[in-house]
Symmetry: C2
Subunit: 363 residues, 2 copies
């Protein structure tokens, strides 16, 4: 993506050229430009196919032969996977087990699927306290109940001390996509509105505040939650939603940049409209971070035709997980592939994708 | 499982009592008794449900609502996951990428499913040579083509140097189970025959020979391969196969002990019938290992009613991946839950499940 030179580069952009790297860097796991680069240069040339290369949060697959015989539409499944390597394992508002369940459930939910079944594969480090494992397993079980999904298959491996880091969990999920539903990050059209379901940056800052020993008047908790019921309500009210994304690693910035690129449209944000908690805002200033780049684990972004935006927003705000929902911008025909934000003090800046690593191992 | 005192304990049995451990040991990832203990004591009490608790190599799930409306049988899916943490990443006959694809394909295939879709989640260690990653990704792509599956979704995370070990891969797979097919490790009946599709222990010894610097006259290669076509042929010839298992971690011993426990039957093996390569046999002697406990990555065990055993065996031997197939024993009503082997020199021994860790990080 080339960047225009007539406006300020975002302060998060990285001076490193995105050339071939001889070694994997932490930034290749950032969910930003380096991640995208790794996918485009290393994974897709070998593994690319119509489904994988769409780079949605979930693959939609059609079980063709099953129902074809009688003229009924073939069942469509959503299928997704994510590894979780968050440090620390336990943090205010959640832990790695909760994150692993809700993260995968959300990838299904934002695709418009009803999440049904999960798998979980644990990579444990020798010496891990068994009590820590028990806590995490309990949390996985509770989170599955909250999300209404069944964990049906799993695996456990153990690696030698110093070759892992406590617990890594990889969850995969299967959901059912109702007939006719077709959400995609390629669907955004000029004029569409961009909604967010609540305050941004809560998860990343909750993790950072533990790591950095920051203290707030109140405990800042991760927003980690399953969005399956919120998406269900949203799609009932507004079946015409173009697409949804959960802005995890790389934050709202990555999600919107990917969307802009995939739909070949521009995104215009209004900084004043971004819902950000006071504590998150303060912590970001202290740590030199921008909330737009900080991970969320219980929020979504939705793109919706303008005439449905108000009713959708109002439905979201009535849902417990959407009380702070807001319209934060719109899709435009100008500057396709770019996200530009009108700042509080006026003036536009390009919200680039994060280049390197801002918050390693946030999920 | 209590063990009789009137015959020799297997030399692989471990003196440690399987009590509660305060910390995770390498042996908890062995695929033997400690693994089973961890699953029974930590995972199942929290996460157990009808599907997970069956402890098959794959979960079979029914998409109820999809096809129920018109009286057609609902599609049944097989769903499985495995993490791969093998060291070294590259070994004779394969690498971690090949292992990750074929391992998951095989878990679907031995359930009688047609493997269709895969996900792959990579956990990379900072500093990993990019060329190593490229080699592995190429191998994943080639293996998917061999196995006739599509990799449709993925994830990449990076952990800091010293918190991982090069590459870990978690693959999950989805397959379609034909109507009426119902393989299960609970199905074995006295009189059934136990077949193995070829020589045992090749994968584990190939890995160990690299680690230990053993040299053979010929290079001993891992047997790593996708069994989907072999299982297809087998089920065509003999739809009445009771169950199949791929004896990976923990080897043939673990697979048969799990089967004996689940079906509440005994297994009698004949040592002279076990197909073992000369080099594997020699290496096992040198390393103090028993081929029954050594991992395989391209072999399966099948339990079949006696009157179908000969035709099935002959069909297996005609398949490139079954040329060394053999009937190695039978299911008996005596000593339910136990595997007993008649040795070459006569005399019976109990083939217990491996207790601790014999070959860490073999897959």
């Amino acid at each position: 993506m080339s960047e225009p030179t007539d406006i300020n580069f975002d302060r998060m952009s990285c001076p490193l050229p995105l050339n071939d790297y001889a070694h994997v860097l932490l930034g290749h796991g950032s969910g930003g430009k380096l991640s995208a680069d790794l996918i485009q240069r290393v994974f897709l040339p070998e593994l690319g196919n119509d489904i994988l290369s769409a780079l949605e949060d979930q693959a939609t697959i059609t079980l063709g032969s099953v129902a074809a015989s009688n003229g009924h539409p073939a069942p469509r499944l959503a299928f997704t996977t994510d590894s979780f390597v968050v440090r620390p394992l336990f943090f205010p508002g959640g832990d790695i087990g909760r994150l692993a369940v809700h993260g995968t459930v959300n990838d299904l939910a934002v695709g418009g699927a009803k999440p049904l079944y999960l798998s979980a594969a644990f990579i444990l480090e020798e010496g891990l306290p068994m009590d820590d494992l028990r806590r995490v397993v309990t949390s996985v079980a509770e989170s599955c109940r909250e999300a209404g999904v069944q964990l049906v298959t799993g695996d456990t491996k153990v690696v030698d001390r110093g070759k892992g880091d406590g617990i890594f969990i990889t969850t995969s999920g299967i959901g059912l996509v109702p007939a006719g539903r077709q959400l995609s990050i390629r669907n955004a059209r000029p004029g569409d509105r961009v909604l967010v379901s609540g305050t941004i940056g809560d998860h990343g800052i909750a993790i950072m505040s533990v790591r950095e020993g920051l203290e707030f008047e109140t405990i800042l908790e991760s927003d980690c939650a399953s969005l399956h019921d919120l998406t269900r309500v949203m799609l009932e009210v507004c079946p015409g939603i173009r697409c949804m994304r959960d802005p995890t690693r790389g934050g709202v910035s990555s999600a919107l940049n990917e969307l802009a690129a995939a739909s070949k449209v521009g995104v215009r944000l209004r900084e004043e409209a971004l819902p950000v908690r006071r504590e998150v805002s303060a912590a970001c200033e202290m740590l030199g971070l921008d909330p737009l780049y900080v991970a969320n684990e219980g929020k979504l972004i939705a793109v919706v035709p303008p005439d449905h935006a108000d009713s959708l927003l109002s439905a979201m705000q009535k849902h417990p997980l959407g009380t702070n929902a807001a319209c934060i911008g719109e899709i435009v025909a100008e500057h396709p592939g770019m996200v530009i934000m009108r700042s509080v003090i006026g003036g536009d800046r390009v919200v680039t994708m994060l280049a390197g690593e801002q918050l390693p191992r946030i999920c």
